[in-house]
Assembly symmetry: C2
Homo-oligomer: 350 residues x 2
Amino acid sequence: MARRVTRKPEEKTPDIRAVAALAKVSIATVSRTINGAPVVSDRLSKRVWQAIEQLNYFPNSHARSLVSGRSRLFGIIVENITNPFFPELIQCFEEIAVAHGYEILVSSSNSDPAVLTTCIRRMIERKVEGVAMLTFGEEEPILDQLVFHDIPLVLAEFQLDNPKTSTILLDYKTGIRAAVEHLAKLGHSKIAFLAGPHKIHSAITRQNDFHAVMEETGLPIQKRWIIECDHTLKGGVAGFARLQALPEFPTAIVCSNDMTAIGVLRAAYLQGMQVPRDLSVIGLDDIDFAEFTLPPLTTIRLSRADLAHAAFEALRQQAEESTNPKLQREFLVSTSLIQRGSTAPPPAEA
Amino acid sequence: MARRVTRKPEEKTPDIRAVAALAKVSIATVSRTINGAPVVSDRLSKRVWQAIEQLNYFPNSHARSLVSGRSRLFGIIVENITNPFFPELIQCFEEIAVAHGYEILVSSSNSDPAVLTTCIRRMIERKVEGVAMLTFGEEEPILDQLVFHDIPLVLAEFQLDNPKTSTILLDYKTGIRAAVEHLAKLGHSKIAFLAGPHKIHSAITRQNDFHAVMEETGLPIQKRWIIECDHTLKGGVAGFARLQALPEFPTAIVCSNDMTAIGVLRAAYLQGMQVPRDLSVIGLDDIDFAEFTLPPLTTIRLSRADLAHAAFEALRQQAEESTNPKLQREFLVSTSLIQRGSTAPPPAEA
DNA sequence: GTGAAAGCGCTAACAA
DNA sequence: TTGTTAGCGCTTTCAC
């Protein structure tokens, strides 16, 4: 693998000058070689690479960033890294970024404005070339700082009147429509929706889209069956309990995310209800785990890869082609229904 | 919340000189004020802060790092960010780091040496002041680069003969002993172990510790019941199947991590086996989800908070007190048994 | 195609 | 207590 490298303690870590001296060229030539400037002759380039190898030289990115004005850093802020959806998203985003020579700074805001404020401050100080905020709520004033510092921004489902801000539109409707139609076809009409926290934009969109689709499909909407939860497993359990406290119980539950659905699955099991015989459950996200619940979860897939690609591409364009007049400012990511084992016809009327 | 900030497009983002000019002081005074040097008079300090506020100035961390030689960055490399244990760990580590004014660079190595190599390169170029590698395998030659560049390192269960490398010793034995004794007390003697991938040091340690504890306790060890899995849910399912293919089946399974145990739970359920009536299962890690499996998972807790604290403290000491002769080079993190619902007495002999 | 030199934004040594 | 100044390690003109 990597050859073993050693260094005498008295030698300082090598810099560009050391490389230049060893290769008997100027530091400008070393810089050009490293950066792949097309002008360097093969002869010198080879000498330089040899010296770099021999000294085990690594360029100092702070110096590079300082002089070039480019940090090659993107920030990504998620709401809660503990929700499995996000690690999967971050993993994708990081892979793409690294493949393009960027680094990422990850932060979990936990929907706490104070945390978010400092994490945006840190990103500005590190001179990130863009920030992706894929779930967020009432934090517009905080975003001002990014705008002020001319930092490109990509948001999910939120437009900002700023040339450096792009938006990813999430077409939940397609997936939710497929889900509701799937349920309708199975014979369900009593369908509840366990929503995400209303302080998060995407949670509201999901709820609204569910509402709209139900109307479209001509299914009855019971307001009491639309319940705000918090996108956690515990929240799903609690939502299930609130549904049970009602005079009438639905035959199917659509959840705003998979964790909520997993909570419902668990609660139903503990109540002696059998899914999908007694109750159909549909999630949203299609986290890796959804395939392994009991029964396997029917869910609306929101592709992390698509989302990560869109977010990265939005930022990359802003960072590298900001002068391009026909820069893409809107991206669309779609959703689709993944049918697994948690849906079935409703039980015969009692 | 944050006051709304705006700026005319023609103004460039403010630097330390702009602040100095507005506050009518030298840039040195601004620098001292920001860094809390004790010498600045209240009068000037107030003027400086006012100017900073008014201009909405954020110091450039690249410039700071370059001249001070301190990046206030730590790297953390995990094996697979998709295993829920790691996001929980990262979350803790980040919180502590930010509270101490550090930033973190997260990377997932996926046990791929090539990925690891580039991620270490990136960390060196960013001049991280320390790297935490909490799970790793045969990557010693790659670590040489960090040693070469004088970067402090903290490893789990692996000693490196280098003054800047600290070690976190994980006392799995205490937890595993409690688990095995718990099973023994319930009447189990046929105990299998589903190990993690042998290319990971900690997986081998866990297996060895299980082996040692079984001997200590005087329980019979069946070599065929010690099976290498891969720390994933699917791996647990596969391990369960391999166990079933054997002429005799154990009455209890201890797993090298919780994901494996969750796989076993699932496989058992699908085989019509009831846990814990027909089979007892014990995990290791105590991820958040362990509480919510069906039945709730009895597991050996490895505190993420403790681990994150130890890792951070090791790096912080190295970064800030490297001259301190009695710097702590070894840290111990313990484990303990969390009894939940997946263990019970073995079924009566057939 | 190559080198000399200016300077990115800041900290720290030294002077006052 | 404050200001002046030299550089941190590099990229990028601008000459040659």
